[in-house]
């Protein structure tokens, strides 16, 4: 009896410790980044570009990259996820799944390097929006594929059978019956993919380049500024001013991240509630 209680305490103590070890660094990162960014936090930070002490161009560039990832990785990832969940079978399914997993496990710097060799140099695109978006998308596509597939597969079989039993065609069943309840899950996957993209540096180093001017919608030959690059380069510069700007860029990445994760959680909670209702 006593021994059991002792075991119990050790177990719960271990759990609490593990939890603390997760929470503490997260809080410490938030506090230290915002503390260090404090001197740079002013209106001019977001109204001036990087050559004038601000990060306006980097914020705009990051948002533009996210939009690009949403379009490219979103369409490819959701499409492949739907294909895997609904249509693929046998050999095609195994092949697609295998390469998706390989991609998911690839180090991001490798993806950046391959992007550099093929897109930037090979295709003569130069540091460019499209090269950056493709490199980032390559990184997050497997994630979107997985969440889309799971969102569709977790729908109960009787939903499909019920629709098929009414003589609805496969594509109609997909669009009208399956996608609506799967949508919150798919969207929350997209949002987490965007959150990952926000914090990535490695795939962009060799593909986006950097520029002090605001990003444009040109797909080729125009380098794109982005937040993580400011953090990376300014931290290496001497001077308190540059370090504060680096921290401020980090703080903006974190804010974007928190907002995205918040939206993602909200949507996935809604998805859970919708499916719970269904299995009643």
């Amino acid at each position: 009896m006593r021994r059991r209680r002792w075991k119990d305490r050790v177990f719960w103590g271990g759990c609490t410790l593990a939890l603390a070890l997760i929470i503490a660094p997260a809080i410490s990162v938030l506090v230290s980044v915002f503390h260090q960014a404090a001197p740079a936090m002013s209106w001019s930070l977001i109204t001036h570009r990087t050559n004038a002490g601000g990060i306006e161009n980097a914020i705009l560039g990051t948002l533009l990259l996210l939009l690009g990832v949403l379009i490219v990785a979103g369409s490819i990832g959701v499409g492949a996820g739907i294909y895997l969940a609904e249509f693929a079978s046998g050999r095609t399914e195994r092949i697609l799944r295998f390469y998706s997993e390989v991609l998911a496990g690839s180090p991001s710097i490798i993806i950046g390097y391959v992007g550099y060799v093929t897109l930037v140099v090979g295709f003569h695109w130069g540091f460019s929006l499209l090269a950056a978006v493709i490199a980032l998308s390559t990184l997050v596509v497997p994630y979107i594929v997985k969440t889309t597939e799971v969102a569709l597969r977790q729908l109960p079989t009787y939903l499909r059978e019920g629709a098929a039993g009414l003589g609805m065609r496969e594509t109609t069943i997909l669009w009208r019956i399956l996608l609506p309840p799967a949508l919150p899950g798919i969207v929350s996957g997209l949002i987490v993919a965007l959150a990952i993209s926000t914090g990535e540096l490695a795939p962009l180093l060799y593909t986006a380049g950097f520029s002090d001017s605001n990003p444009s919608l040109h797909l080729f030959h125009q380098a794109v500024p982005y937040l993580t690059n400011v953090t990376y380069t300014d931290l290496a510069l001497p001077g308190a001013q540059a370090h504060a700007t680096a921290a401020a860029a980090g703080a903006f990445s974190l804010i974007l991240l928190i907002v995205l994760i918040g939206i993602g959680r909200l949507l996935s909670r809604r998805a859970r509630m919708a499916t719970r209702q269904m299995t009643l």
Partner: protein, 276 residues
């Protein structure tokens, strides 16, 4: 249809048991899930505008048989069919037949109420709309809900979620949904097994009503239910062979005859409760 000289008990229905105007004619149907033979050599006829009940112990293949009639088993991987099923004289497995077209004429109601996560109205309207129904949808929805004896209970909340209904109401909504497609046949897979006695009674009443316009094939666990509602009954059982367990149709005939004077010993054992 049956040659009296060649008739052998249990293999074919008694001559007076044969429906005069069959909508389905099934001969030597075997069904496989991969290597497992779930059904063996089923030969049967389903009478038009009759209620045919399929009874038998668990795992006897009655649901599998039902799902062959609208090719819903096609959705199961590694499913394979031998033998033939003719629907109005045409093979349902002919290459020219598209399963979706067949299922519009052979609707289905499932064991557990499975409304779509949509409004009551939308549950009934979605299939006709996406199938290209050109008439007045509002009218069709009302008419279908009336047929399913649900209209009076839901007419003021058509926009409410289908999940706000009770289990019995959800099942009648699923019947309304099936009726809205205007099928010839409605297959029901233990439609009342998840419902309480009152809701069960409502479903049985409804089936008797629907019989005037539709052919109904109903799988049921409940022998009393089969005796109460059906015109014709088929008794399936499980045969254990060296290759595994296989479902077989033991006998099929008019419900009154089958329950009072079964030709097969196995049927008698089952309906008298000595087995199953």
């Amino acid at each position: 249809m049956v040659d009296p000289m060649n008739w052998s008990p249990g293999r074919l229905p008694l001559p007076d048991d044969e429906p005069l105007n069959p909508v389905f004619e099934i001969s030597n149907l075997s069904f496989y899930y991969g290597q497992v033979r779930a059904l063996r050599d089923v030969t049967a006829s389903i009478g038009r505008k009759e209620i045919t009940a399929l009874i038998g112990p668990s795992g006897c293949g009655k649901t599998t048989f039902l799902r062959c009639l609208n090719r819903l088993n096609d959705m199961v991987a590694a499913a394979r069919v031998e033998g033939s099923i003719e629907f109005d004289g045409e093979s349902v497995y002919a290459p020219s037949v598209r399963p979706a077209d067949l299922r519009r004429r052979v609707g289905m109601v499932f064991q557990r109420p499975n409304p779509f996560p949509k409004s009551i109205y939308e549950n009934v309207a979605i299939a006709p709309r996406t199938n290209g129904y050109s008439g007045d949808l509002d009218e069709l929805v009302e008419q279908s809900l009336r047929r399913a004896a649900l209209w009076d209970e839901v007419k003021d909340k058509l926009k409410a979620s289908a999940f706000s209904l009770s289990g019995g109401q959800q099942q009648r909504l699923c019947i309304a949904r099936a009726v809205a497609v205007k099928p010839d046949v409605i297959l029901m897979d233990e439609p009342a097994s998840a419902l309480d006695p009152v809701a069960t009674y409502a479903i049985e009443e409804l089936m008797a009503e629907l019989k005037n316009e539709y052919t109904i094939v109903v799988v049921t666990h409940n022998m009393q239910q089969a005796a109460r509602v059906s015109d014709r009954t088929g008794f399936f059982t499980v045969e254990v062979t060296p290759e595994g367990r296989t479902g077989v149709l033991v006998e099929m005939g008019s419900t009154t005859r089958l329950f009072t004077n079964p030709t097969e010993k196995r049927t008698e054992d089952y309906i008298t409760g000595r087995f199953g």
